[in-house]
Symmetry: C2
Subunit: 314 residues, 2 copies
């Protein structure tokens, strides 16, 4: 058994890529044929969209498992389908772990006391795959309710050798609205960052990074650099690369000298690459799997060239 950060770092070093592929199935953007075959063929789920999501995610897992250390299923797109989607989410997480991938469940949960604990117990399996029904290695968490509401998540995470990523500075256009309000001379997100860094310190043992990480968007490079400096023991999950506009240069400051300390997510830019201008001419829609592989390799090369993640290459 090993802690979340130990498992994650060894996977990053094995693949030489600090990359997580976001599994965001969207019905309207599924590659051609997937919905039709789900409707006509044998289906485990009553809803053919659920069947199509499962096949789509399974195929992506098979393509990216040799290339990247982790995947990040976005709970919302599964939940949109109702209970069948919940079943698919569990099945996709299981398949990803069987393929040797670290699974970051992006569910942005948050609640108080024993309610927060119930969420943690449902999603955080950590080093024992059977410890939670949605057996993720780590979970994204929302801090709005207060620092006390993070503790139940932390307790379960530490016990199960799982990880957390607390929202600190997000990648959306309106992130500044509440996160950048200045209190006591510091942005709101810096106050949250201080609490998160404290929890990272408390859970790191003799490692550099603790069980508690932070979500910091690629779309705000200045804030990213500032937070890296302020949070030396906090692992970063970085959304916003690619489709949302963040570049490898924007993210460079998130890594330590060894190329570790952060993992960068791309969702649409990889899984729907067949539909992106960059790959459209190169791959026909039926070759969507090749487009996924090309986009994954391109992202890894881009990070290796323009960030300290190149240090992983060796």
């Amino acid at each position: 058994m090993a802690t979340y950060i130990e498992r994650l770092n060894s996977a990053i070093l094995a693949k030489r890529a600090p990359v997580v592929v976001g599994l965001d199935p969207r019905k309207e953007q599924l590659p051609p044929g997937l919905m039709d075959s789900a409707k006509s063929g044998h289906s485990y789920y009553s809803d053919p969209t659920a069947t199509a999501y499962e096949r789509f995610c399974f195929q992506i897992i098979d393509i990216v498992a040799p290339l990247v250390p982790a995947v990040k299923p976005q709970a919302a797109f599964f939940e949109e389908l109702g209970p069948s989607g919940s079943l698919v989410l569990a099945s996709v997480i299981r398949r990803a772990r069987e393929a040797g991938l670290i699974v970051i469940c992006d569910a942005k949960r948050g609640d108080i006391g024993s309610t927060a604990e119930a969420y943690a117990r449902g999603y955080l399996a950590g080093s024992d795959r059977n410890a939670a029904p949605w057996s993720a290695d780590s979970l994204t968490v929302n801090p709005y309710l207060g620092p006390d509401t993070l503790q139940p998540f932390v307790d379960v995470a530490v016990k199960r050798e799982a990880g957390l990523y607390v929202l600190v500075r997000t990648s959306n256009p309106g992130a500044a609205g509440f996160q950048d309000l200045i209190a006591d001379g510091q942005t709101h997100y810096r106050h949250v960052a201080a609490a998160v860094e404290q929890l990272a310190q408390e859970t790191r043992g003799e490692q550099t990074y603790g069980a508690v990480g932070a979500v910091v968007g690629a779309t705000y490079p200045q804030e990213l650099a500032e937070l890296r400096a302020a949070m030396p023991h906090t692992h970063f999950l970085i959304p916003g690369y690619g489709s949302q506009g963040g570049t490898a240069q924007d993210i460079a400051a998130a890594f330590d000298a060894d190329g570790l300390g952060a993992i960068v997510n791309s969702s649409r830019g990889i899984i729907f690459a067949y539909n992106n201008a960059k790959y459209k001419d190169q791959f026909a829609p039926e070759q969507w799997e090749s487009a996924v592989e090309a986009a994954t390799r391109d992202m890894i090369a881009d990070l290796a060239e323009h960030t300290p993640a190149g240090a992983l290459g060796g």
Copy 2:
């Protein structure tokens, strides 16, 4: 067809009670016999705990449906069981709506753009019960990611005549940690409150209260009174009464002169009343259903006596 607030207010007036019963099933606190009978008898779900949760919630729905306008299932306790729990959540919501109850799904979701929209589409059925797989009338939402991330929830809510409750000032002991930081001379939660009141204004049409409400805890009476004054068009969902320490007097300021404008939640205090000191002597564990009914009637009477909700009595 009617908007969320129209449906809610007519239910509150019909029952003469601004009360919502929280459905928070917890395995360790289930009344005696429920788990055993779920294990031995015929079970629709593979997990007997899921069967026990469904029976428990169904029985509570049957008891409280004649007395209160609404129930509030807490998603975390269902999700803790995995996909079987997701099925039970859908089934409990359906049963509650069939019993004529308004359903506030307490899932505290929050994400960006089309991801937020996916959550909204999954949970907000509004006036058309078939519009969403978890067919709630309203949903609790977390604002941390920014004001722009509330809009997709609002768009779906308005379209489906559903409602939202955005976390503003929560009831937990550490709520002040981030929510009370002072920026530009105002607490953080007042900045969130201003954005929420704006959305309430934009969605109220000719009604007093809009589709967008706020979660404001009963445990901080001063903040509650302050927010009522600052948010004249925002409906309040008030947790923290009873088990968490909030009293009817603490909540009095949340109501308008007609006794409307707020709905007060009690979860453990009602559903596990058989286990509370106040009812333990009066009811044996096997009489837990009578304890639920007594606790519900007591709460309604308490609010009627000590708050403007008494105006509903007529």
